[in-house]
């Protein structure tokens, strides 16, 4: 067997999740066997798929799902943004705040009271304040309010075809164009 020839223009791709459900990552994997093809075209960098925790110095495409719930999300997003040439906001949570942002209708205090103090069956009711737990933001935010975003993949989750189109377009050096049925907000 011949070793694959190294292509100098091989793109590096990183993925990351903030306040989301990893559903976007799962949908990405729905490209199924094409992941093999993709692996020949790109190098995966930081990602739960590779278990690499931080980006290499420079990544070409960074896919990020989830919105900003807490200060850790903000730090991760900023580090990720700084490493990526193109940042792609993936899915409803990254683009609009999504399901976690439903709490924005309520004060943070009422949310925490409901969860940790008033709910039935709680031992030692108190609002957790372990320094290991990142502070929550007053409101959940979409990522475009904190960093520059280059591309978006709408959807909850975006269909595998949308991931495929975005990555193959960037590999080919053209602007991605999502077909009508792949450009969904739900």
């Amino acid at each position: 067997m011949n070793a694959p020839t190294e292509q100098p223009a091989r793109l590096t791709v990183a993925t990351c999740s903030l306040a989301g459900c990893f559903g976007c990552h799962m949908s990405f994997l729905d490209v199924d066997e094409r992941i093999v093809e993709l692996a020949q075209l790109v190098t995966f960098d930081r990602s739960p798929l590779t278990d690499v925790k931080h980006c290499s110095e420079r990544v070409d495409v960074g896919l990020i799902e989830g919105g900003l719930c807490n200060v850790e999300n903000v730090e991760v997003l900023r580090e990720f943004r700084a490493s990526c040439r193109y940042l792609v906001a993936v899915g409803s949570c990254a683009i609009t705040g999504g399901v976690p942002a439903v709490r924005n209708k309520f004060t943070l205090e009422s949310c925490l009271r409901e969860a940790y103090i008033d709910a039935p069956g709680i031992d030692n009711p108190h609002i957790p304040c372990d320094p290991e737990i990142p502070l929550l933001l007053n409101k959940v935010r979409p990522i475009h309010e904190v960093v520059r975003v280059d591309y978006v993949l709408p959807g909850c989750p975006p269909p595998a075809e949308a991931f495929w189109e975005l990555l193959t377009a960037l590999i080919a050096g053209r602007e991605p164009e999502l077909a009508y049925e792949h450009r969904r907000f739900d």
Partner: protein, 596 residues
């Protein structure tokens, strides 16, 4: 507000005094507000019932106007004028001082119900700033010393009517008189002259004079009158005395000292088109002039100048004065008509114009106070008396209200076509670096444009001239105007309703030193969008000062931008964990806001 009504006035009394007329709903609600410090739910239900209006209509009206409230205000309800020039004279400082002394948060009634201290849009007394309203009465020249006294009077529950009279003194503010301010018409003389000449011939005279709408838009008054004259059916005459453009206060002096001339002009228009009724729509802030105006109306009725068979002409015409309740948009002609009909002040769809379908669906002549005054003078003195002044495309003189960084703020009557430089020389504003002509909705010009002319062909204005010297921060001026429009947008159309909020957001971000070049581009792009896609003149002009100052004072913006930053968050990250810190008792610091 300043009305003598007490709590004892029943809702029945109020409805009865207004003859259960639906279009007087706003007037009724104002009286409820004045006597009860708010419009209780009970009143909403009551008026809906007795006027046979949907509850949603009455509620909609209450929730639209700034001076109507659904929850109690303080027994003392104090507003400070929030115009840029009032701020320059210290309005914010005196307002905060009063709030501190009384232990209240701005805009919120004190727990014991004693007092509310708030800011309100320009009250039209800029040359006597800081100005404001105490239970509806206008006060001027507020000082920190007076604030100390005011706080004590409020704490002791002394009624506003017993406060020192000099606080409520309003100067007429006239600095320079021209043909209009020098011409007092003996009551009835202009009407008699018009009737003697013939009403159609008087219309020719008004047309020939070249008089253009003095509210700022400059539509030829004669052409408007002719349009109504040639429209069949019933007619109304309405006068826009809403004077809400920040920095404009010239109609104030006309209403105070030239009411006869105003009513004479409206009457001539009424007789011409066969209108039976006219309305003056006066901003709520000018309520203190109501009594004087009613007296003039009574005198004119007694003299046969209003009512039936005016000056033996066989024609009838009468006038009523309606008060606004704190809504800048009601200065827009069609919003004014909606408000006169007792509705929310939402600008109508055009066409049709008000001349075709105006008040109560009838042909309506709506003009500014100054336009009617000058029309009456033209009817009396002839077209040339007027058209000999001004320049070819902008005839006559114009009343200008000048405030800000000048030695002699006040009202100046000057020929149209005068340069900004000359205006500045007269008011002692030679040190100006910028002049805002026409209020926040107008144009901001810098030093190299001071040879431009105040006229309909160049810098149009309804009268507002604001002067800014080198010490003024134009980014902050533009930010304040952005706040003004966001507050005053009626909310009807998306571009203005949301767009003015976005402009406010980015103006704040930039003024607070958190803006980037990207944010500046957003202001330009959203600004052009709001101008192009809004429903009425409010949105079409709301971005003007931001766009003008970005163009004319770019260095004031660029020096504020975070030059190195590509992107700065749209909200204050550190402030966004305050709730979390308070709930957990932790003091974690977020990294300083930085670029990515």
């Amino acid at each position: 507000m300043a009305s003598p009504l007490g709590q004892s006035v029943t809702l029945h009394d109020i409805a009865a005094r207004h003859l259960h007329a639906r279009h007087r709903l706003l007037q009724m609600l104002r009286e409820v507000q004045a006597s009860r410090s708010y419009v209780p739910e009970e009143a909403i239900q009551f008026f809906a019932h007795v006027l046979n209006l949907p509850i949603a209509h009455v509620r909609g009206c209450v929730e639209f106007y700034s001076f109507l409230h659904t929850t109690p205000r303080g027994q003392f309800d104090v507003y400070f004028s929030d115009s840029v020039t009032d701020r320059m004279a210290g309005s914010e400082i005196v307002a905060k001082r009063l709030a501190d002394r009384l232990g209240v948060t701005l805009g919120q009634p004190r727990a014991d119900g004693r007092v509310t201290v708030s800011m309100t849009s320009c009250t039209g007394h800029c040359e006597q700033a800081p100005a404001g309203l105490a239970n509806g009465r206008v006060f001027t020249r507020m000082t920190e010393a007076r604030i100390e006294k005011m706080a004590s009077l409020i704490e002791h529950g002394v009624p506003v009517s017993e406060w020192p009279a000099e606080w409520f003194h309003v100067d007429d503010g006239i600095r320079e008189r021209g043909i209009t301010l020098e011409t007092f018409i003996p009551p009835g003389e202009a009407i008699r002259t018009a009737l003697a000449r013939g009403l159609p011939a008087t219309l020719d005279e008004v047309e020939r004079s070249g008089l253009q709408g003095r509210g700022g838009a400059g539509f030829p008054v004669g052409r408007k009158w002719r349009g109504a004259y040639e429209t069949k059916g019933a007619h109304y005459i309405t006068c826009n005395a809403d004077e809400g453009e920040p920095g404009t206060f010239k109609d104030r002096v006309l209403l105070a000292k030239y009411a006869d001339e105003l009513f004479e002009g409206m009457t001539i228009a009424g007789l011409l088109v066969g209108a039976k009724k006219g309305y003056v729509y006066m901003r709520g802030e000018y309520e203190y002039m109501m009594e004087g105006l009613q007296t003039v109306l009574e005198e004119r009725r007694a003299a046969g100048l209003l009512g039936e068979n005016i000056c033996e002409s066989g024609l009838d015409f009468d006038l009523r004065i309606h008060l606004g309740a704190g809504a800048y948009v009601c200065g827009e002609q069609s919003a004014l008509l909606e408000s006169l009909e007792g509705k929310r002040g939402i600008p109508r769809v055009r066409p049709p114009s008000a001349v075709k379908i105006g008040l109560f669906g009838q042909s309506t002549i709506n003009n500014n106070v100054e336009s009617f005054v000058q029309a009456a003078q033209i009817a009396w003195k002839g077209a040339e008396w007027f058209s000999d002044h001004g320049e070819t495309k902008s005839r006559g003189t114009k009343l200008l209200s000048i405030a800000g960084d000048c030695q002699r703020p006040g009202i100046y009557e000057l020929p149209l076509g005068i340069t900004v430089r000359e205006v500045l020389a007269r008011c002692g504003g030679e040190n100006a670096k910028a002049v805002q002509v026409g209020g926040p909705a107008g144009t901001c010009v810098g030093r190299d444009e001071f040879d431009r002319r105040v006229s309909y062909a160049d810098l149009a204005t309804g009268g507002s001239i604001m002067v800014f010297n080198d010490l003024r921060d134009m980014v902050d001026v533009a930010r304040q105007f952005a706040h003004f429009f966001a507050h005053e947008s009626c909310g009807f159309c998306t571009p203005c309703r949301v767009g003015t909020q976005m402009l406010k957001h980015y103006a704040d971000k930039i003024a607070d030193g958190q803006g980037t070049q990207r944010d500046l581009e957003q202001v330009k792009s959203i600004g052009e969008f709001v101008k192009g896609y809004s429903h009425c003149g409010l949105g079409e002009t709301a971005p003007n000062t931001l766009l003008d100052t970005i163009k004319r004072f770019p260095e004031e913006y660029t020096s504020r931008l975070l030059a190195e930053a590509d992107f700065v968050p749209d909200f204050d990250l550190d402030a966004s964990v305050t709730e979390s810190r308070a709930l957990t008792g932790r003091q974690d610091q977020l990294d300083q806001v930085h670029s990515d």
